[in-house]
């Protein structure tokens, strides 16, 4: 007779499916709540893309060559908008919680480590969805953009799935450095990559070399998919871009896993 049994429970009680589900739900719910209570972080992340859209697409409408600015920027700011929460939520969030010791505390708790990452993904996707909805309202309501409902759903779906490679990149950055250093690295990656992927102005505005190099940026590949869906470019090689984004995700997930396990 051991003490645990004497206390009326077996030595190691398994987690029931309901308890596991509750654990994941709480982890995700509190992750969202935790962020929602940081307006200084949330408001800029959610509002920047739509503010840029209002300034550059709505206040200064027109054409960029064959591109209709309001439609082009709807797609590319959509990409810009979902990358932000993915990099900041994951990269900076992980880096902060590694520094504060919270990740260590959770690692010695019985929490399945997957719950930690699922919560961060849910958080990133939810923020991304908010950004895309705000942009959609601006594009359809003020930018004169029109799309079939099915195409719009496809665009939203592509952008949300397209956030995953950036979650992986954020995870890698968060595994690389701790604390505030991650903010600097994320900004160093986020802004130049966005510009050089044609998210702010089309690629033809850049020198030939920059145009050629665009293929190295995952943001460019996602932008090609988004622009294809809303009809701004034609003949998009969907499989190629999806494959590149998938490869990118696997690559950075592996690097991050190596870093986090290797400690």
């Amino acid at each position: 007779m051991n003490t645990a049994a004497a206390l009326g429970r077996p030595a190691s009680l398994p987690m029931s499916a309901a308890a596991t589900l509750r654990l994941y739900a709480l982890e995700c719910g509190y992750e969202v709540l935790k962020m929602a209570r940081m307006p200084a972080f949330v408001v800029p992340t959610l509002a920047f893309p739509v503010v840029f859209y209002l300034m550059f697409a709505v206040m200064i409408p027109g054409q960029w060559g064959s591109f209709q600015k309001a439609a082009y920027l709807f797609a590319t700011y959509g990409v810009f908008g979902i990358i932000g929460p993915a990099l900041f939520g994951f990269g900076v969030g992980l880096a902060m919680e590694r520094e504060s010791g919270l990740l260590e505390l959770k690692r010695v708790s019985p929490m399945p480590i997957a719950a930690y990452f699922v919560a961060k993904i849910v958080m990133s996707l939810l923020s991304g969805l908010c950004v895309v909805l705000l942009l959609s309202a601006a594009a359809f309501g003020l930018g004169g953009v029109s799309m079939a409902f099915g195409d719009w759903l496809l665009l939203v779906g592509a952008l949300l799935l397209g956030a995953l490679p950036f979650c992986a990149l954020g995870l890698f950055i968060g595994s690389l450095v701790k604390g505030q250093a991650a903010v600097a690295i994320v900004n160093l990656v986020y802004l130049p990559m966005s510009v050089l992927s044609g998210l702010w102005v089309p690629m033809f505005a850049f020198p030939a070399i920059v145009q050629k190099l665009a293929v190295i940026w995952p943001a460019w590949h996602l932008a090609q998919l988004a622009l294809g869906i809303n009809g701004q470019i034609e003949g998009v090689n969907v499989l190629l871009h999806v494959a590149v984004l998938l490869g990118f995700t696997v690559f950075f997930l592996s690097l991050a896993a190596l870093r986090l396990r290797g400690r």
Partner: protein
Amino acid sequence: MRSDAIHPSAPIARLSAAHKRYGAITALAGIDLDIRRGELLALLGPNGAGKSTALGLLTGRFGADAGTVSVFGADPRDAATRRRFGVMQQEAKLPETMKVRELVNLFASYYPAPRGVDETLSLAGIGDLAQRRYAALSGGQQRRVQFAVAICGAPELLFVDEPTTGLDVDARRGFWQVLRGLREQGLSIVLTTHYLEEADALAERVVLIDHGRVLAEDTPAGIKARASGSRIRCSSALDVASIARWAGVHSVQRDGSRLSIRGADSDALVRQLLAADPSLSGLEVSALSLEDAFIELTRSADTATPIGEAA
């Protein structure tokens, strides 16, 4: 198969010849440690002695480079093992924007049969802080929340790393009361501390650690006895160097007219002192405090080959 079910005194957690290095620094140099069911064990040692590393192994933060770690007969990195112990780490900041009740509720959800949230809060003495955000709490209150998070799963074994560092005297004594109460409920507790007073006040067994090794393992009283017994103070003109040559004298110091002598057998030493100096006055004999014992034991270890300090 559970050996601790057959032998109640068999260890529920064990380190055997455990080594851990950080680069060039040896944090644990082959440490053996047993934790028995229902006891309150103190790992005592100075900063950098390897206490937190030993706790890190036992709580599955990392693996040993060599040797074995077992908790309830299994690897502490298995989730099934973790559901049976709770941990309060030395440096863990909880999310600042979350409320106390939310934090406890979240951590309790990791366990199959947790304590109720209200019961946990009142055990940790923070029932009145349930709706406060973590960032709005004082340092001592935050430590209590970290403690609540450690016990919310109703663990059988609790690891607490330097729980009272930075607390004021009242808060520290309050915390001791909580720990004693939990032990009376049958909880096994492993505590690291560099406060000798804390080990003395709480523990049944003290394991003295320095330079990644176990220097001594005993009851607090036993540890004192090991550092050979007593200190004699008196006023005398006797020569320090000649007293130091007497049998059973460990150290002699002079401070003005006062002599301070540490030795094994105080009765024999007092007789010898009075015989050598009949004009001797102001005689005081006292047992060594745990602090003295600690200094004595760590000092004798320092004469061995020194090993690097560890975080």
